[in-house]
């Protein structure tokens, strides 16, 4: 029984069940604050009516989405970037991550955001996530060599599945001619420094 609510700073006290999960990154307070201040409508959470027999809580956060808008429209780069989307382990495999992505899409595909596309990064080995995003209409735009590595690579030919990421995109109605996406994106390799907007 999922409902969608705006994320608030104090929610950081209620996401231990999500952020203790090894797959979820914990960011500095400043990171969350910046998203809340600059892109308040793109940082939201899903909540569940919880089993209120313990502690009298009436709801529990089951996931959240952190996104931002960036890039120049003149360069066809005005887009929404998904910085994090994560789900509580008890609420996985019921389509919640997809729902959060769709919810985001429904916000940014119209005014005042009206971005050209949504993008996100995913490890090339994360087949489950790749399938999920493909099902949602995302496609690989380019392979970012060494995106998840510790050092900044200099050579796009040095592919490494462990640390390379795919930049996946979904074109939105504002991109009338689908100019922001491409076919066979997995063959286009770039460096992390090339994907800064």
């Amino acid at each position: 029984m999922t409902s969608y609510k705006p994320f608030q700073l104090e929610d950081l006290y209620d996401i231990n069940s999500i952020n203790l999960d090894p797959l979820t990154e914990n960011y500095p307070l400043d990171f969350y604050s910046e998203y809340l201040i600059k892109w308040p409508s793109l940082f939201f959470k899903s909540v569940e009516i919880s089993d209120n027999s313990t502690f009298g809580d009436t709801s529990e956060i089951s996931g959240y989405m952190i996104a931002k808008n960036e890039g120049k429209l003149s360069k066809l780069e005005w887009h929404t970037h998904i910085s994090a989307v994560t789900i509580h382990n008890q609420y996985r495999r019921v389509g919640l991550a997809s729902d959060l992505c769709i919810f985001l899409e429904n916000i940014v595909n119209k005014d005042p955001d009206n971005t050209l596309f949504i993008d996100l990064f995913v490890r090339v080995t994360n087949t489950l996530a790749l399938q999920l995003y493909e099902k949602l209409g995302y496609s690989i735009y380019r392979r970012v060599v060494g995106y998840y590595g510790r050092n900044l690579p200099q050579d796009t030919k040095h592919l490494d599945d462990e640390i390379d990421g795919y930049d996946m995109r979904k074109s939105l109605p504002a991109d009338v001619n689908d100019e922001t996406i491409r076919l066979n994106g997995h063959k286009v390799c770039v460096l992390p420094q090339d994907v800064v907007f």
Partner: protein, 793 residues
């Protein structure tokens, strides 16, 4: 504390830099140096109010609060308008809780220099955000809007009026006054964004029909905040037709599959007298989803249709019983129908025939959790949990490290059950081994690891608790809610160099965040993020007064003293006394997360309370205890009458263990010796100490490998150290004698207990091998050696 950079160079020619040096000297308690610098400056610039304010700030930081406030009050009558002066005056007044005077600092300047006060008003605004002073925030924003006149500042003024109204909500007249004032400020403006519309919604909180007007006339797309506000207003005004139409539009036209919206759709439909079947059909026609299936359950509940309720309950169960959300979804509806229970029992009868799949595992775990929720629990229930875990063990070999393995929860339930019936040392260790077995199969399960930390703490194995805390990669904000798992009483449980370094790292996190918070609240104003602002301010307050922060400072400082650490002691000495005012006056916020252990397991709160109480000797008010411990430390370092009174006042009101009660009473009498006592007072104090500073009088635990013994030995070590510095020779001798008795009576016994350690743990479930158990016992033995008091120094 005035924030400024720290300079290493001794002399500067730039006068501003020297002023910074003065502040720096005061804040680092170099009072003599600060005093001489101020004198030089005052002689050179006798008419500059700033040096008078600095002299007052010096007095204030030296602890001469009354004199500082008197001097500040004198300075205030002269209406100083040097922004550096107003800033210092505001800080001194605010930190002394002189709210009226703090505001007068700026109000006087505004009155006297109405055309030249922009810098002061901005400073007032910034300071009011920094100190979370909503009344000052409202006033300063009001003045800012008058100076600038732009819509943005009007929005600030209106929104801060709402914040003040909200703070005064209990006083209806005041509440209405500030809501109305807020609305008047922006009445002529047409909201140009949903953020501005949000400000209108807030200031119209006392005039809800008007909110509807504003929202309905807004030409743009509503954001989530405003949508929720709109739904809430329609609901509170019982505008059921509008509510029904709007929710239907959201659900069916905009595909906003939100359960709260479903609930309002159903409720408004019910209130409008819509037939059950009409709503049922509309939900069924909706694209199939978990929410829509639960909406049918909700519909049956609201329409009191028991037959359908049971039907949709079973339908939901049939579709979702292999999903991990099934238990919590059904538990929240408190469903317990015979068919469901029979169905569960039938499935359970066929455990051994089930295919080993994650779906089937989830099915059995959901069933067990539901039976537990229905109270259908006997010993066989727990046996069945072991069987399920064993049955699905092959899945652990297939799964990715990061995959969630639901069967662990059943074993955690069994561990809880075991500890609930037997709290012995041996049983805690036995369950540690069970949990370690789970971790050996599934290292990244955070819930199992958290329970391990809990059990390690129970038996005093703090280094092990720390090892897991680090393994869990607890970071950033999580320290504020989970830090207590390692920091609570750590200065007596495990005063060790590595622990000190860890707690210093947590402390650094607090410092960084405190600096960022003010900045971010100001940025939220500047960016017009009104729907986040209120929570930014409440978060700041919650974080600034976090119990965990003050415990971190206290425990870290105590460790620096115990360990004689020269790197950090001076810094924490200053920090320790810097927080005194807050410790004395503020209501601390408890951000500790203890719910995390119990979430999703389905235990009732009464059980949790009862369970936790079995492992605590006395139910303690942690905040009062922290304050008591604080004043004990401050009296050891810098005795004063005020501190003694605070300690003496707190002591009878804090529930303590027998040992701590003895300890604090001994300290009380030792502290009395610092006061001026008449002959009979002196005699009775000495008699108390002579009688009680003996090993036979101390209620020390006889468990030589326990959390209690480590705590008690460390506390006694500190006590003996304190007595050794006493001016009273008899006290010194009593302490020395006690120290010898501790060495012979307890240190040796703990060493003997460690060297002859043998433990009988009985049989284990889950086919845990003897080799695994033996290895675990060896590891526990090593852990006890590492954590023991005798090996700490």
């Amino acid at each position: 504390m005035v924030s400024c950079s720290h300079f290493s160079v001794v002399e500067f020619t730039d006068p501003q830099m020297q002023d910074h040096q003065i502040i720096d000297a005061i804040d680092s308690k170099q009072f003599l140096r600060a005093s001489s610098l101020i004198k030089v400056k005052s002689a050179k610039f006798p008419n500059q109010s700033y040096y008078v304010a600095l002299a007052n700030y010096l007095l204030y930081r030296q602890g001469n609060v009354k004199q500082a406030l008197d001097e500040c009050a004198k300075l205030l009558t002269k209406t100083p308008n040097d922004p550096r002066t107003t800033d210092l005056l505001y800080i001194i007044f605010m930190e002394s809780d002189k709210i009226k005077e703090s505001n007068e600092v700026y109000e006087n300047v505004i009155k006297k220099f109405p055309n030249n006060c922009q810098e002061h008003v901005t400073q007032w605004f910034q300071n009011s955000v920094k100190y979370g002073n909503i009344k000052a925030l409202q006033k300063s924003c009001f003045h800012l809007s008058k100076i600038h006149g732009e819509p943005k500042y009007k929005m600030w003024a209106a929104f801060s009026s709402y914040l003040l109204a909200n703070e005064l909500r209990n006083d209806e007249k005041q509440y209405n006054l500030f809501c109305t004032l807020g609305f008047r400020i922006i009445e002529g403006i047409t909201p140009s964004s949903t953020q501005e519309l949000f400000v209108f919604v807030k200031v119209l909180d006392n005039n809800k029909p008007k909110i509807i007007e504003y929202i309905e006339s807004y030409p743009g797309v509503l954001d989530l905040d405003v949508k929720i506000e709109y739904l809430s207003v329609l609901h509170s005004l019982k505008q059921n037709q509008k509510l029904f139409d709007f929710t239907a539009r959201l659900l069916f036209d905009q595909e906003f599959n939100d359960f709260d919206t479903w609930k309002l759709y159903i409720e408004s439909g019910f209130e409008l007298g819509k037939p059950f079947e009409q709503l049922e059909d509309s939900i069924k026609a909706y694209k199939w989803s978990r929410n829509s299936q639960l909406a049918l359950l909700e519909l049956s509940k609201v329409y009191h249709n028991l037959e359908k309720f049971n039907h949709y309950n079973l339908a939901y169960y049939d579709k979702f019983n292999t999903k991990t959300c099934c238990f919590s979804d059904l538990a929240s509806y408190n469903v317990n129908n015979e068919s469901l229970v029979n169905g569960i029992k039938e499935v359970n009868n066929n455990l051994e025939d089930q295919e080993i799949t994650t779906s089937n595992l989830n099915l059995f775990v959901n069933n067990q959790k539901l039976l537990h929720h229905f109270g259908m629990v006997s010993e066989s229930f727990y046996d069945f949990n072991w069987r399920i875990y064993k049955q699905f063990l092959p899945l652990l070999k297939e799964k990715l490290d990061t995959d969630f393995y639901l069967a662990n929860e059943l074993i955690v339930m069994n561990v809880i059950h075991s500890l609930d019936t037997d709290q012995s040392f041996e049983n805690v260790l036995k369950n540690v081994i069970v949990l370690n077995y789970l971790v050996s199969n599934d290292p990244l399960d955070y819930k199992v690891n958290l329970w391990l930390i809990k059990l390690f703490r129970l038996v005093g194995l703090i280094p092990e608790a720390l090892r897991i805390y680090e393994l869990l990669k607890v970071r950033m904000m999580q320290h504020d809610s989970l830090g207590h798992l390692i920091l609570e009483d750590v200065s007596t449980l495990y005063p060790n160099k590595s622990m000190l370094n860890y707690s210093v790292n947590i402390y650094r996190f607090y410092l960084t965040c405190q600096e960022d918070l003010n900045e971010n609240s100001l940025k939220a104003f500047d960016n017009g993020a009104y729907n986040k602002l209120e929570n930014f301010l409440s978060f700041s307050k919650r974080f600034k007064f976090s119990f965990q922060y003050f415990e971190c400072v206290l425990e870290t400082f105590k460790m620096t003293k115990i360990l004689g650490d020269k790197n950090y002691e001076n810094h924490f000495f200053n920090k320790f006394f810097e927080i005194e005012e807050t410790i004395q006056t503020a209501e601390l916020t408890d951000n500790r997360d203890n719910k995390i252990f119990w979430k999703s397991l389905g235990f009732k709160s009464e059980f949790v309370d009862q369970f936790e109480s079995k492992f605590t000797a006395v139910k303690q008010d942690k905040q009062a205890l922290l304050k008591l411990k604080y004043f004990k430390e401050s009296l050891i370092l810098q005795p004063s009458e005020i501190r003694f009174k605070a300690f003496n006042k707190l002591l009878p009101n804090v529930q303590l263990t027998k040992f701590d009660s003895w300890l604090m009473k001994v300290y009380l009498n030792l502290f009395k010796l610092n006061n001026t006592l008449n002959k009979s007072e002196f005699e009775s104090t000495m008699n108390f100490l002579i009688k009680n500073l003996k090993i036979t009088k101390i209620p020390i635990t006889t468990e030589f490998l326990s959390r209690e013994l480590n705590h008690q030995m460390s506390s006694l070590f500190q006590l003996v150290r304190y007595t050794s510095n006493s001016k009273n020779k008899q006290v010194v001798n009593l302490g020395a004698a006690l120290s010898r008795q501790i060495d012979t009576s307890y240190k040796q016994k703990q060493m003997d207990a460690l060297s002859s350690w043998k433990i009988q743990l009985g049989d284990f479930e889950l086919d845990i091998t003897k080799e695994f158990v033996d290895d675990q016992v060896d590891k526990l033995h090593d852990a006890f050696i590492k954590a023991s008091y005798v090996h700490l120094r």
